[in-house]
Every structure is written in C-alpha cells, then in structure tokens.
Symmetry: C2
Subunit: 410 residues, 2 copies
Amino acid sequence: MYAEIISIGHEILMGEIVDTNAQYLASRLPSLGYEVRWMHQVGDNMNHLVDILKKGLERSDLILTTGGLGPTADDLTRESIGAAVDEELYIDPEQLEILRGWFLRRGREMPIRNTKQAHRIASASVVPNPVGTAPGWWVEKNGKIVAAMPGPPQELQVMWENETSVRLRGKSTGRVVLSRTLKTFTLSEGEVDEKITPVLGLDNPYVGVYAKFDGIHVRIIATGDSDAAARRLLEPTEARIRELLEETIWGIDDESPEERVGELLKQKGLTLSVMESCSGGLLAEKITDVPGASSFFVGGIVSYATEVKIASGVDPAVIEKYGVISAETALAMAEAVRTKLNTDVGIGVTGVAGPDSMDDKLVGEVHIGIVHPGGTRTISGSYPPRRHLVRNRAAVGALLGLWQELRELQ
Amino acid sequence: MYAEIISIGHEILMGEIVDTNAQYLASRLPSLGYEVRWMHQVGDNMNHLVDILKKGLERSDLILTTGGLGPTADDLTRESIGAAVDEELYIDPEQLEILRGWFLRRGREMPIRNTKQAHRIASASVVPNPVGTAPGWWVEKNGKIVAAMPGPPQELQVMWENETSVRLRGKSTGRVVLSRTLKTFTLSEGEVDEKITPVLGLDNPYVGVYAKFDGIHVRIIATGDSDAAARRLLEPTEARIRELLEETIWGIDDESPEERVGELLKQKGLTLSVMESCSGGLLAEKITDVPGASSFFVGGIVSYATEVKIASGVDPAVIEKYGVISAETALAMAEAVRTKLNTDVGIGVTGVAGPDSMDDKLVGEVHIGIVHPGGTRTISGSYPPRRHLVRNRAAVGALLGLWQELRELQ
C-alpha cells in the first residue's frame, strides 16, 4: 500500500529549517507495510494544501502530515483536511476541556485563539499530544487514512511512537519491508563483499554492502506479506552473515561506537581517559554524549600544543625521535594520560586535520594509541583531507579500536 | 516568480538520508527573486518524475532538480525532463569527449554505461561538474527554466555556486527578498523587542525577533523589485538596529561564536585554554573546529571526575565550600587551567547535563568562569533539562561570554 508525507510550514520553503520529520516518518513506514512514493513540503497556504491532499487521496492509501496544527491563523492543516474530504469543522467539547485543563495546570487561562485546536470533523478522532497543546487528527474515510501530527520534532516523535504508529499497525494489506544493518570494523569493503558472497545476489532478502565513516555496513532488506513472513526471511540471513563476519560486527542499526564502548567498559568495570590533539575534544565529547559516562570516563586532555603533551607526561624524546604525528607519540599519549589520570584504559590520538600539513605530514594522517590492562595497540590511517572528516574518523577509529581490544580482553 | 524544488532518489523515500539539498536551494532562491512554493521528494520512477515535472511546469517559472544524473539505469532525470518538455534525447559529442577525458586523466577507460551522462535534448545546455562525472542540465523553453543538478551535496553546492546561481541571476522579474540576521547575547527576548521597537511593525522591511540557543536573533527581511531596491530598504534598518542594540550584537547570518572568538583572540594576540566538565569536550571541540585554531588554542582539560579538577590545580577547599557545581568552582577551574597551560585566557565550565541531578543541583544548572588579562567574570544559568541542549548551551555561553570580555578588553 502507498503512503505520502506532507510537511507544512512557510519556514521550510524559505530554507530556514531542514525538514527532518519527513525522513523520520519515511524510515518507519516500510516495516508497517507502506511504501512511501511521494514527499512534499508546502507553505501555510490553504489552496496548495487542499490541492496536494486531494491528489494524495487519489493515488495513495495513507497520508501523513506534520505541522500547521498550532493556534494561529497561519495554521491551516485542520481546515485543509476538512475541505479535502468535504466535511465541516466543529468544536469538540471534550477536546476543548482538555485544552482548558492544559492551560489551567500551568496557571493560565486558555487564550481564545486556542479554541481552534479543539476543532474537528466527523471522520476525525483527536489524537492526544502529551508534550504540547497541538493535538493530532486521525481521519479514516472511504478506505483512506489521513494522520495529522504536529511539526516540532519532539512532539511529532512522541505522537508517532505512542499513537499514530500503534493505530497504523495491521492496517496495511501491503507488503512489509524489514531491514537490519550490521556494522563492521577492520575489514575493507572488498573483504566484506568476499566473506558474505554466499548471501549476495538474491532479490529477497536483498543484501547490500556500504562504506560508511564508521566502517563497512551490511544491510539486509526482507519483504513479505506480513511482519512474520518478512522476519522469516531476514533472520536466517542475519544469522548467516553474523557467522561469516564473526567478531568484526560491532553494532547494529542505530547503535553508535560510543554506546558500545561504554557498555563494555561498564560491563568489565574499567575506567577510561583520553589525550587527543587533532580531534580537538571530539573524542571526549562523543564519549560523554552518552548518559551515564561518568561511571567509567574519568577525564581527557586536549593537547593541542606540543608543550601540553610534554607537560602531561609524554616523553619529549619520543616526540623528538618519531615526530608529533606518529604511532609512537600516540601510544606515549595514551600511556601518559592513563598514568596521570590513574585509569585502566588510556587512548592517545594525534594527526593532521588540516587545512595545512604539519611536520611534513599530509592532511589526513592519523595515529591512535590504546593502552589497557591486556596490552597495547596502535592504529594508523590516512583519510581524505577534509578537516571535519579527519577529526570524525580519528575519534570513531579510536572508539572502534578500543571496542575491539575490550571485546577480546578476558 | 515561483520556484519548485524536486529531490530525486529512492533512498530519500526509504528514509535512509535526510534531504538537505532542498533546504540548501530554498534558502538561496528568495535573493534571486524566486518564491519557493513547492518542494517534493520522488523516487527513481519515470512516471512519477514526469508527472511532477509537468505539474511544476504548469504552475511555476523555475524547477530545480537534484539527483538522478548518474550513469545507471536507475538515473532517470534526463529522460524524464525530455518527456516532460516533449523532446528526444541524443548523444552530445562534445560532452562525450569531456567524459572520456575525465576517466582518461584517472587512467581508466570510460565505461559504456557512462555514455548516458552525455545525453541531452535540444533545449538543454550541459552544465559542467568540476567535482564528479555527472554533468547538470540547464533547460530553457517557453519562458520556463528547468535546472538539473547532481544529488551528492558537495557536487550540488559547487554547481549551484559556480553555474546555476550565476545563470539565474537577473532571470527573474519577480520581487527580490533579502534577509539579514543580527545575533545578540546577554539581552532577553523581551529586552531586544523593547529596544528595537522603532523598527518593529512594518511589513517591508519586516523585522522579527527569535530566541535561539546562541542568544536572541533579529531577522530583517526586505522585498523589492530589484536587488538594489531591496538593499535600500534593508541597509538603513540594519544600521538603525545596530545603533539600538550596540555591542550586544556578536555576529551576523551564518557566523558562529567560535569563529568570532577566534578572530578576537588572533587580533589581540592572546592564547586560550579551557577546563570543562558538563560540556565533556564540546567547548574544546567547537574551538578547534575552526581551521587555524592552533595559533591561539593551547589545550583543554575535560575534568569529568572531581579528582581530575583537583589534580589540575583546582583548590579542593573551593570545591568543599561551594560545591562542584558552583560559580566559584567554575572560576577556580578557569584560573587553574590558565596557570597550568600558561595561557592568557582560561575558561572553566561546570554544571549538570543530566539525565540525573548531581550534588542536589538540578539538571540544567551551568556555571562558567572566565579569567583574562583584564579581569574575571562568572556566568550562571539554568537551561531546560535536556542533556544535548545543556551541553550545547554551556559551550556556547562560555564562548559568547568570552567574546564580550575580549571585545571590551583594551
């Protein structure tokens, strides 16, 4: 069955914001049995909205809208859906009470203009919004569904999770598409391709190999008449790929390197410190981005200037002999910060982020040193010479290198 | 005059990528005299593409497309434009030579399938792509323009800057919309509103006040029959607002706090070091994100654990007396890192990023200490209790606080 997504708001057409809502919804529809064929962004213009809604109702089974549910004259989603399905709007007394209560709990009287948010049509049921005033709509008419949700991403996501996706489950008679991404580290794209040859070349499940900044990803896409049927195709293929790629798989789907490293450190009861130069704080920032990092992360040193490395315990003779941009210095940084901050594990990162080369080393050269209770490791690499990319690859490389070491640690 | 943007690719409809190209183009069209009224994402499906192109040619003056210009059977933009304007495709010999040369310079023979990228119709001129193989198209027919550009953002942006935007300049007889954003720090939304009352309430130039994570923004939007006419409205208003808000304006348009701080530090020949806990490396990361930061940024300490603060020179008596989450500790951190790394300026940041409260302090409480050759300053604030937001506000607050101090420094 076919779905269409409409994002509503003048600020999208002015290029003031990126429409991330459409991507959020699009990524979730295939597993519910809907194929997205159209996405649109339109302004707060009733003619345009009614036009695209009518067109959508002709060619699609499901229309999801985001935005235009606020209390102002600009908010035209309710009126436009009413016009598109040819129904009159009226005030829903129950919803009006809910809105009044929302304001009352915040010690305020409901402004008159918010009455608009209690409007509905006969075919619509009102969908509660636990994090804002704008309720959604769920409209079912002539075998078609229109679900209207608010524009602020946080409100949209809560409503989608708690309400809209729940109501949609089982509504589609269309094919269900499930996917699973297995993320690997260490292997090249060609090596992954070679190892998983036995599962490649099929249409369903389809298996694709993609090079990403955090390693090579293997994506499995399975299509079936039901969730169970799609799962029966996906799961054996996933199991087979896991056998073939073994311990090079560090995570799945939305998992991040910092989450996986954090889990292992907590599990093994180890503490971590880092000393970084070219990544400039990004490694510490990623690690501490995960709630609860304080249970294993003690601290970091951003040793941008060479003097800071030396003052933090890196042997100047190592720097003198091998250069600041070297595997030996990266390892000395890891050892120094581990000693200085008294942790079980230390990481050192040095390299050239650019735009200028340094010490005759080209932009993109990165060295990572890891010291842990089971031993030491260095990783050296050379990345495309773009500052943002080099910094990111350096931080992610350090995390994934550590993940591998920790995994093997008894 | 009206514009329409069409982003093409199966991966957008699957929710695998966010369509940032549409926002990039939308933000640039108003200053060229085009009003964007529709944006669409469609798959690699010729029927759908032709359908939306025909509809766009009926109601808009300009259609911009991104994606679908590669060499594979899935890349259908050229064929679809041809069908929409009813013209046959043929091989352009000149373009074929250019493509062959592109591969030759990389020591390879051109694959047969790339011949597709030398196709064109009589109304199209081929637009060079200096960073990839996919050339664009520029089609002018019956007073309408269709400009097709590649999907990879880097290729799109180079082609837009060098070619498409240049060709579009002066084509529109529509009203030109120019905007300017003035970014302030220290004042509240209400205070900004009050100060700029004399320029508020007009339709053209329209002045709006917006609360953002890096302070209050004032946006001026001026519309005129030409670039010059719009400029004549915009510029006096900008000058007037600058008078009214004086030195609270720290930047304009796309400028970032870290760029502005870096400029001032370089200009005054001062060096900087930071000690941060709740921001976890984000402050150092932002500072070093700007190329050339090594000329003033010496280093940072991410003192996540209290022991690291003490080992880095923060007086334990200060922590004992005022608590880790206090203005006094933030200032002591700034002083300690400034002394330890021997810099002119030191910043300390402490706070509770959450999700859990700490030392009886609520999530969102942040303290910033700044020590510089002219004196010291502390800034304390309380932000909405969302981890990502608290960390960001803390880092940006530290940068803007420093910017103000440096500006006033003789």
